[in-house]
């Protein structure tokens, strides 16, 4: 992905040298032309056309903001309810993501989502240990959120 981005910038600079005008607007024109060229030549790259992962990252950011707002609503309800009848639990979640940066990203996402945060990652990086604030109604729903997060992260790195 970074390779394609760099290639696109270089193509934009080639356009600037060809057009003999060194301004922001000619850079943008060259960049868009380069984008078209890279789209035509996409089958020669081993990874997907790099605009796709960028969109997925945008999607991840939106999910993140939504989950952060929901998380705060959930904490607010627990803190301000008259009786503390929550059931905390610590459970292990098997991981599908492999690379270190993916695990870090996933654990930050989990920490900022409703009622969960990460306590530890196992030594072989196959499991993470999650503390939930209210087990019965969160456990299954959270598992679903996690699969959607994990799937999106896997889409980015593919």
């Amino acid at each position: 992905m970074a390779q394609q981005l760099l290639l696109n910038v270089i193509l934009a600079f080639v356009w600037m040298f060809l057009a003999d005008s060194f301004s922001g607007s000619s850079f943008v024109i060259g960049y868009l032309l380069g984008l078209g060229i890279l789209f035509v030549l996409r089958r020669y790259f081993s990874t997907t056309f790099y605009v796709v992962p960028l969109f997925v990252i945008g999607k991840l950011a939106l999910i993140f903001i939504k989950e952060l707002l929901l998380a705060n609503w959930a904490v607010l309800k627990i803190v301000l309810s008259p009786s503390l009848n929550m059931k905390p639990c610590i459970f292990a979640l098997p991981l599908e993501v492999k690379k270190d940066w993916e695990i870090t990203l996933l654990s930050s996402l989990i920490t900022l989502t409703p009622g969960t945060f990460v306590i530890d990652v196992s030594d072989d990086k196959k499991e993470i240990y999650i503390h939930t604030i209210d087990a019965p109604d969160v456990d299954e729903a959270v598992r679903q959120i996690k699969t959607s997060f994990e799937k999106t992260i896997l889409e980015v790195s593919r």
Partner: protein
């Protein structure tokens, strides 16, 4: 138009202050380190972000001064506060702080015992 802008700024700052207050109440009310860590890591993060966004909009829309440092501070808060919550609760867990007795399940207990055994 200025009323809308004023309302937006007031809304952001008030929401941020309220969320910070709620997380302070959470620290007082919740029973153990881990549940308190929930209140701290989520509510204060969003509360601070709201206050910073209110400040950003105030100087941007009222005084025509876009302060990029506030934006950077929001991003830094986003990145660092979940990590610090994770590290504090992890350190608490391995130094032997027991979860609250209402805790239903504890998959980490076995792991902690192995660690303490290997330390001895």
């Amino acid at each position: 138009m200025t009323e809308i802008i004023d309302g937006l700024i007031v809304l952001f700052v008030m929401a941020g202050a309220l969320l910070t207050l709620i997380s302070a109440i959470g620290v007082l009310r919740l029973p153990d380190v881990y549940t308190r860590s929930h209140a701290i890591s989520k509510s204060t993060t969003l509360g601070m972000i709201f206050i910073l966004m209110g400040t950003l909009f105030y100087f941007w829309l009222k005084h025509d001064h876009f302060n990029s440092r506030l934006l950077l501070a929001i991003v830094f808060l986003f990145l660092t506060s979940p990590v610090s919550a994770h590290l504090i609760s992890r350190a608490a867990y391995y130094s032997g702080v027991r979860p609250w007795e209402g805790t239903v399940r504890d998959d980490l207990a076995e792991r902690r015992e192995n660690r303490t055994k290997s330390a001895e």
